[in-house]
Structures are given as C-alpha cells and as structure tokens.
C-alpha cells in the first residue's frame, strides 16, 4: 500500500472564495453577488461599481480547520427563495469538496435583495 508521505497542503481563504464564487455564478436563481467591502459598497451606492473581483460577495472565515462560507446575493423575484438558497448551499458544498477534498463547516446565504426582471423595475433591495 502507499505510505503517507510527509508534507501538507495549505489552502487560502482566497482560493476557497474563488471556487465558491464560480459555483455561485452558476446557481440558478442568483442574479447578483453583493461585494461586502466598504469601497465597493460606497462605489455602488454612487453608481461607480468597482471592477468585478473573483471573490465579490463571498466571505470565507477560517477558524482552524473550520471553514465557513457566506454568500451575499440578490435573487430573481418570483422564485422560491428557500429552494434557491438550499440549492446554492448544496452547489457550493459540492464545488468546494470537489476542489479541496474537505467539507466546509457551514455555507450561509445572505439574501440582500430581489430583482424584478419582468417589467416591474430591475431591482428592489
């Protein structure tokens, strides 16, 4: 049998965030990720969104081996929010586990708003 070889792999919060971000982009029902840093929020408020980053709207907290991922999102109006959130959680779990071979301790979804895209205004937060 193969023996364990010494050495360890270190995964950064940034790397986990990137994987979670890509997975969230493909989550059905999520139409926007909401950046949480102050500069982005102020910029957005005044109509100057900062260039998109590969971790926008994804917060990764690492506490020893415990990894908690929070998705800050806007969803499409008219979809079952609980089901969309549930799907997003499972998709991110799956993507992170597939990429890094560990399960996050938790994946949370923070719904910041809903978007109307059927003629009743584009966005209401």
């Amino acid at each position: 049998m193969r023996t364990a070889t010494p050495g360890k792999a270190v995964v950064s919060a940034r790397a986990i965030g990137s994987v979670a971000y890509q997975a969230t982009l493909g989550c059905y029902g999520i139409v926007e990720l909401v950046p949480q840093d102050l500069r982005s929020r102020v910029g957005r408020r005044f109509g100057h969104p900062s260039p998109p980053d590969a971790r926008d709207g994804i917060a990764v907290q690492m506490d020893g081996d415990r990894v908690t991922i929070t998705l800050h999102v806007v969803m499409e109006y008219g979809l079952p929010i609980a089901a969309v959130a549930h799907n997003a959680i499972r998709t991110v779990y799956f993507a992170v586990e597939r990429a890094f071979a560990f399960r996050p301790a938790a994946v949370n979804v923070h719904v910041h708003g809903l978007r109307f895209s059927d003629g009743r205004g584009e966005r209401a937060v």
């Binding site: 049998m1 493909g26 499409e76 979809l79 089901a83 499972r90 799956f94």
Partner: protein, 576 residues
C-alpha cells in the same frame, strides 16, 4: 367555433374531436380545460418515469433526485391549476397562472426551481388569453425559456435551460409554418430531444458519466406526456418502453452500458455519420441498440434519415460494416485510444492516482505486446503488467500494479506458467484481497476475463474464471534456443517449434506449417472458432496467408486474427 372543437383536448378522452363532416381530429385550438388535462398527462408521465430521470443525475450535485424534484414541482403546479375546476369558462390564462403559483410554492431542487420559472414565463405569455393556438403555444414556450435564462448569472449550457430553448426554437419554426397546437408541440418535443442528445457534448461531467442531463430529460418527459395525451393516449396505460425507444431514451441505454463496461477509454474511438440510402428510412431504435451493443461509452443520435454515432470499441471495422448496410458513411474518424493512453502512461509519474473504481473488483493481467494488452483492456482489465515468457515480471511489479488498481479486491491473471508462482507470492504480500486465477497463457487469460462479472463477489469470480480458463487449450509457435530432444521431438537451435499447453509437441521449418500442425493436434476440425494472435515479428501478409490456409483446411471453422504484437512467439493460437 363549436365548444367541442374549442375544448379539443378534453374531448379527446371521449374518442377524439371531429371536424364537422367527420374529418380527422384537429387540435387547432386548446382551451383552459384542455391545457389542464395536458398538464395532468405531463405530470403523470413524469411520475411514471421518475426512476429513469433520477438515474441520470450527475450535475451539479450527484444526488439522484432530479426526477423526484421535478415531479413534485409538476404535481404542485397541476394541483394548483386543478383547483379552478373544469368549468367550460376556464381560460388558459387562469390555468397557467395558477400552475405558475403552484410550481413556485412546490418547487424542489434546482430543476424544480427552473421549472417554476418556466411556468412563470408560460403564465406571462398566456396572460389574458382564453384559448391557445399553435402560434401562441410557440410564443409561450419561447417566453418560458427566456424567463428561465433570466434568473441566473452564468447559465450552464447542457442543462434543462438549453433543452427548454431547443424546444422553443423548434416550436417557433413549426408555428411559422402554420402549425396547429399538435404540430407545434411535436416540433417542441423534437427540438427538446435533439438538444437533450447534445447535452453530453456541452457538459464534460455528463460526458464522463455517459448520460444526458437529468433536468433536460425530465422536461422532455413532460412534453412527451402532453403529446401522448394530445394523441388520445392515456399515459397511465402507455408502456414505459415508449420513452426508451425514442431518441430521448438514449441515456438509459448508456447508463446500462457504463455499468457493464466501466468508463475505460480503451480501444478505438469511432465516429461517423450515417445517411440513409436514397429512398429508404432508418430504423433508428434498432440501429442505435445494435451499435451500442458493439462498444461502450456510446453516444448515438439520429432519426429516420441520419444517425450520428460516437462509440468506443475494440473493433471499429465491425461497426462500420454494420452501418454501411443502411446507407452511406461520412465524417468517419477513428482514434486509437490505446496509443494515447500508453503515451500518457509512459510520461506519467510512477505514482499516478488510481482510476475511478467501476465495480468493486478489478483485474490485473500480465501481457507482452500492445495488441494483447489492448485486447485484455478491452475486456475490462484495469492494469496490465508488462511481462511474458522471457521477461517475467517481478513480485514487486505485480505488487505495485495490485496497489494501484482502483479497488480493494483484485484478481490477478499471470497468463504464463512461469509467472503463476510470482503472482501467488505477490498476492500473499499484498494488503488487498487478491485472488490468483492461474492462467498459463494469453488465450486462457482472455477466456478468464470474459467470464468475469462485476456483480459476482471475489471468490465466485475467481472460481468461475479458473474453471473457464482451464478448459482452454493453447498452441504456441516459437523458436528453439538450443538443441534438444524432449518427449521424442528432436529440435535444433533456431528451429521452429510448437508447444501445446506448454509441452513441446511439434517442430518444423516455418512457423505457419507448425501452427497448422498444432491446430490439427488441438482437434480443430471439431471446433468452431480459432483465434490467431500474431507476434511482433510476423508481417500482416504472413498472418493473412496462414489465416487463409486454416480456412482452406477447415472450411467450417471461423478464424479470427488479432495483432497481438507479442515478442518471441510468432503465433499463439486458441481453439474453442
């Protein structure tokens, strides 16, 4: 317009709506009750096919509940729509908006959520309409797909989304040609099926698993249910095989093949386009089934005029010969995946990650020569250890192969009398469960492999394989390395000799004559099949000539020639 015609679909259940004058039923227009009953049929048909759809699920989370989720969503949509009753005054607008509400409230899983958005689009397009005609149906399907695409930032193609768009585009085409509800729905179904068949090309995950998208398949099933209803057939009474024989059913076949063959990329990747001979139509279902049985990892799409095939097979010639009987072949492309794999193996670091296990037992076989290795791999051997008569593999080499095999239970085929002992040693030293099937020759190994079944346990397999292998007689043609007289046969160094089950039996001047001599002693005239494995030093012409001579001498015997590529042995023959 009479009430009977307006409520076309609902009246079908009583035997079809007839135009005044007794013409064939027409589905120019469907009213609210008609739409409601079509929804019920779609839901019922999905319910009956839930297991098939569940079996496909690999993306994005391989949890196998896509069919269940879509069915529960459909059921909720239908139940909400049905609350409005079956009154004559019901409009399609009312049915669709209630269905959309029900789908929203009952949406389960990713596919269910997308389905609820599709219903939302349908409801939006049908808003204010009392009845539905072909053009409105096409517009509604288009709005439904567009609405579904809106709710995601990065649409993943090769999913339910793509299939909904394929359906909508085909429906629009049918509607522009003036199609009624039935024709437009036919178009939508054909478009959905065609798109579904392409989903493995769009999503690598589907491709790897050899399936079409589960959500897309669910959508096709719903449209099929509605179509069956429109044709006056009850989905409760319909045979489930109706779906398996349609283009959409391909995935179910592929799933079955994966279980039998494993996801190994060995043999020849064979692609072609078959066009029906002029004036003829293709029996697509039969052709697909036959072709799929001739290889593995098959993706076969088509209709009555064309069949596009992608199949991994160890014998591309047989596939082409079969296909060409039905018409002309174009876009033929055959790649030798063994060469690609061997190239990869040669350049990979020694400690490569084991392949995904397919089943709980894997087979490690010893062989020399590319051709023999390919045959063994084609039959399902997970690992090949290079070795043979004059280059016996070491215990360590066998142990490495066992450890790198993808499963914890391993069957070892030494395929040479001199390797059996080493194999037993390796089996004892390994920390995995290993059984040695003491095959003394390649033909015995091949026979043993063909007796292997994924479903049986390790000991049963080992017993069955040993029993089959021991019944195979092997003739080998090689050259003597020194002068000797064994068992009354005198040979000089360099002379051609024939061994029958490892015993020196004949000698002669040329290998073909010795091979024929061996065959005679192997009782070939009473056999059905002789397999000839040609060595690395044998030219194709010499092999063909020997094959022809065997054919002349034993006219009733089938001769199969395999380019074994083994060193030292000009020919290895087996008789069955």
């Amino acid at each position: 317009m009479s009430a009977a015609t307006r409520r076309g679909v609902s009246v079908t259940r009583q035997g079809g709506t007839e135009r005044p004058g007794g013409e064939a039923p027409t589905w120019a227009v469907v009213d609210g009750v008609g739409l409601l009953r079509a929804l019920r049929a779609g839901t019922g048909w999905l319910e009956r096919n839930v297991a098939g759809v569940n079996a496909l699920n690999v993306f994005p989370v391989p949890d196998g509940d896509t069919g269940t989720n879509m069915f529960l969503t459909m059921k909720s949509a239908y139940a909400a729509a049905a609350e409005g009753g079956e009154g004559e005054e019901r409009s399609v607008s009312d049915v669709a908006s209630r269905a959309a509400y029900g789908a929203l409230m009952g949406a389960r899983g990713n596919s269910g959520v997308i389905l609820s958005q599709i219903f939302r689009g349908l409801a939006k397009a049908l808003d204010g309409h009392v009845t539905l005609d072909g053009a409105l149906l096409a517009a509604a399907l288009t709005e439904a797909s567009a609405m579904a695409y809106k709710a995601v930032m990065k649409p993943v193609e090769g999913t339910l989304l793509t299939v909904s768009r394929g359906a909508a585009e085909a429906a629009e085409t049918a509607a522009k040609a003036g199609g009624d509800v039935q024709i437009v729905l036919d178009g939508a179904l054909a478009g959905a099926r065609a798109t579904l068949a392409k989903t493995p090309e769009m999503l690598p995950l589907l491709r790897e698993a050899g399936v079409v998208d589960a959500g897309g398949q669910g959508y096709v099933v719903v449209l099929e249910g509605m179509r069956l209803h429109l044709a006056g057939r009850s989905v409760e009474a319909e045979e489930l095989s109706a779906i398996a024989s349609s283009g959409a059913g391909m995935a179910f076949d592929v799933v079955g093949m994966q279980e039998k063959h494993g996801a190994d990329d060995y043999g020849y990747c064979t692609n072609y386009l078959l066009a029906a001979a002029p004036g003829t139509v293709l029996d697509f279902a039969l052709i697909r089934e036959t072709m799929a049985a001739m290889g593995h990892s098959a993706v076969i799409v088509g209709d009555e005029q064309y069949v596009k095939a992608h199949i991994h097979t160890t014998d591309p010639g047989a596939l082409l010969s079969y296909a060409v009987r039905f018409g002309s072949l174009t876009q033929i492309k055959i790649d030798n995946m063994d060469m690609q794999v061997e190239h990869l193996e040669g350049s990979a670091p020694p400690d490569v990650a084991p392949a995904e296990p397919m089943g709980h037992i894997s087979v490690v076989a010893v062989a020399a020569g590319e051709g023999l290795s390919a045959v063994l791999r084609g039959l399902g051997a997970a690992k090949i250890v290079r070795g043979g008569q004059t280059m016996n593999p070491s215990t360590q080499e066998l142990l490495d192969a066992i450890n790198h095999a993808p499963t914890d239970a391993v069957i070892l085929l030494p395929n040479n009398g001199n390797v059996v002992l080493t194999a037993r040693q390796a089996a004892e030293m390994a920390s995995k469960q290993v059984r040695v099937v003491p095959t003394k020759s390649i033909p015995q190994g091949i026979a043993a492999l063909s007796a292997f079944t994924f479903t049986a346990d390790l000991d049963t397999n080992a017993e069955d394989m040993t029993a089959v292998a021991s019944g195979v007689r092997t003739g080998e043609v090689t050259r003597a390395v020194r002068d000797a007289t064994i068992g009354g046969v005198a040979v000089k160094a360099g002379a051609v000799i024939g061994l029958l089950d490892d015993v020196l039996t004949v000698s002669g001047d040329d290998s073909a004559t010795v091979a024929l001599d061996l065959l005679q002693r192997m009782d070939a005239e009473h056999a059905e099949l002789v397999t000839l494995y040609t060595g690395a030093s044998v030219a194709d012409a010499a092999a063909e000539s020997l094959s022809a001579r065997i054919g002349e001498r034993y006219p009733t015997l089938a001769v199969e020639t395999v380019r074994g590529g083994q060193p030292h042995y000009d020919f290895i023959v087996s008789v069955e």
